[in-house]
């Protein structure tokens, strides 16, 4: 096993990986940007080193600085988490050059799956079904011409994509030039590469993905599917395992196809093969392979009982996998809600600020993966996801009820979060029936649907008035205690408020 592991990431995922290392008895090293000095991942690690200023290109994306720290701290392995350098083949290669194990797939597998166009060509040769899409390296005019040949609607995707960045659904031909420009800008900003391609958009499809694990001894298994159709702007917001749309024989078939896709690139470590699933005819199409741990891995962990991060570490250390395919029997139902610092009542605009209060839900079947603490600063530098709330239930109905309960218990002060959005989804009949697809949130017309309960508004108004009244009474009390009994008590109340910054 490894002597010491560096976690090249921040936020909840860095904490998650540190915990796995700790449970394996491996000392840990954190890296952090200047604004993250007090972050949980810094405090939970055994050692921590600053790698630069807040913008990620100057810190968490600096391969040279991270390798320097790894050498200085004497680590023999690096876990990249998700995002940042997790799917960067150059980083995996730099680790190898420095004699450090990259806890993830080989650089060649990252490279071939990382370029979405090359990935499509590679897996197609292994019999994996594909959505019709454009060849690589086309200019805008060529993409526009190509889109006409496959017909609208189409989907623009960043070749180096992920996380919904650089993706645009285009309904009409005249929208395409502007959408291409926007997708290229976003891709360049997120990935440093503005290459995009076009795929046929399959309406009413579900997003189903298969988690796989592969060791370096030629063993490869799948851990069943995750349903990730609840997306906003192609970013997943709610994930669950299993999927209501997938029956056992289809699960095994998609599992075999996912394994074939992984074998096509000699894959080792944890990975996920994403499919679009058309429930009208039970057909599925390869979307892409994520060559890393994913945000939604806890739902699979809940239903399979496997600690995917610990397994990743063991595989990277050259161990043989402890599980065979026949050992994997999903049990119960798990749901994850991504808690983001965004205002669901205002178009999901990012909400920055200091977390002034925090009370996370607990209780049976509840797991919170979080980087939050009281005093935590949500800045504009990083992704708005600040925590994940994951629940397990024996049935899907129990999991939904448990999620409702846990969301009701969650208190985060100082920033706006996506919690009310998740509450409204847990109450939505289409979600409860499980008949949704990737177009679900667009149909909801979020801003119109997200209406606050009038009763709650009234309760909030009364509570505020009572607190204001109490503050006034305290001011009166202070006034009475003073010698000058004729002092204007309302002025006193005003002073209290002034001191508090209210006036």
């Amino acid at each position: 096993m490894f002597k010491k592991v560096l976690v090249a990431n921040r936020g909840e995922i860095a904490v998650r990986v540190l915990r796995a290392c700790e449970e394996r008895g491996i000392p840990t090293v954190a890296v952090f940007s200047e604004v993250d000095r007090s972050a949980l991942h810094v405090r939970y690690a055994d050692e921590a080193y600053c790698i630069g200023p807040a913008p990620s290109r100057d810190s968490y994306l600096r391969i040279d600085k991270i390798i320097d720290v790894a050498r200085k701290a004497g680590v023999d392995a690096i876990h990249p988490g998700y995002g940042f350098l997790s799917e960067n083949a150059a980083f995996a290669a730099a680790c190898a050059d420095a004699g450090i194990t990259f806890i993830g797939p080989p650089p060649d597998a990252i490279e071939r799956m990382g370029d979405k166009v090359v990935a499509r060509q590679t897996v197609a040769r292994h019999g994996v079904p594909l959505v019709p899409g454009s060849p690589p390296g086309l200019r805008d005019e060529e993409l526009i011409a190509f889109a006409k040949t496959i017909g609208f609607p189409v989907m623009i995707k960043a070749s180096a994509g992920g996380g919904g960045k650089g993706m645009r659904a285009v309904q009409e031909p005249e929208q395409l030039p502007d959408m291409l420009a926007a997708a290229r800008r976003e891709a360049a900003s997120a990935f440093g590469n503005d290459e995009v391609y076009i795929e046929k958009l399959i309406p009413n499809a579900r997003h189903i993905e298969i988690q796989i694990l592969a060791d370096s001894h030629g063993n490869i298994i799948h851990l069943g599917e995750r349903e990730c159709s609840i997306q906003r702007r192609h970013q997943k917001l709610i994930e669950e395992a299993p999927s209501v749309a997938v029956e056992e024989n289809l699960r095994q078939e998609m599992g075999r196809v996912a394994i074939a896709a992984a074998e096509a690139v000699n894959y080792v470590n944890a990975g996920t093969v994403e499919f679009l699933f058309d429930s009208r005819d039970n057909r599925y199409y390869f979307l892409e392979m994520n060559t890393r741990l994913q945000v939604e891995h806890p739902v699979t962990e809940f239903v399979t009982g496997i600690d995917i991060v610990k397994e990743q570490i063991a595989i990277a250390a050259g161990r043989r996998m402890r599980y065979r395919q026949e050992d994997i029997t999903p049990k119960g139902w798990a749901i994850e809600c991504r808690i983001t610092a965004e205002d669901p009542f205002n178009n999901f605009l990012p909400s920055t600020g200091t977390v002034t209060f925090l009370q996370e839900p607990t209780g049976p079947g509840v797991r919170v993966e979080s980087a939050l603490y009281r005093g935590f600063e949500v800045t504009l530098y990083y992704d708005p996801m600040v925590a994940k709330l994951v629940v397990w239930g024996e049935t899907r109905a129990e999991a939904i009820l448990r999620m409702r309960r846990a969301l009701n218990e969650y208190r985060i002060g100082g920033i706006k979060t996506s919690i009310p959005f998740h509450q409204s989804i847990m109450d939505n009949t289409e979600f409860i029936w499980g008949t949704f697809d990737t177009g679900f949130l667009d149909r909801l017309r979020l801003n119109r649907e997200m209406r606050r309960a009038k009763e709650y508004e009234k309760i909030a108004a009364v509570a505020a008035a009572l607190v204001a009244h109490e503050e006034g009474r305290k001011a009166v009390h202070i006034g009475n205690a003073q010698a000058d009994s004729r002092r204007n008590l309302w002025k006193q109340a005003g002073r209290i408020r002034a001191v508090r910054g209210l006036w």
Partner: protein, 164 residues
Amino acid sequence: MKYYARVGQTEYEIEIDGDAVYVDGERLEVDLRQSGVPELYSMLFNARSYELLIEPERFNYRISLRGEHFDVQVEDERTRRLNAGRKTLALPEGELAVTAPIPGLVVKVLVAPGDAIEEEQPLVILEAMKMENEIRAVRSGVVKKVEVAPGQRVEQNGLLLTLE
């Protein structure tokens, strides 16, 4: 003592008389207690139990209730009288300043002076947290002046454009 609590577009008249609380004239059974943590309260509202996070902010209270946030502006009778005397408007009547709700980089301005716009129409694209965010019109109107250009950084509450 009478208070006026405004949440969004709705105003509630709340009278507190000893233990009695009247909301718009209707008597309610209300009991509010601190939980031991300064901002966390337990409220019994007509015997229904709620946990509330109440944080004082400038001129208002931010209240979190079952995951939902409410910004409540409270005035007592006297303050209301005083404020009525000193209210001034930053802009001439009928004009609306569209400001940046978050700091960010202006990627694109989607409207020009003279454009007639609808409620909910995207006006400006602002990049923050690595995503492009659409700033939309809160009401319909005509663009009077555009104050920003693509590539420009804006601070929170920075003026983007004015509508009339």
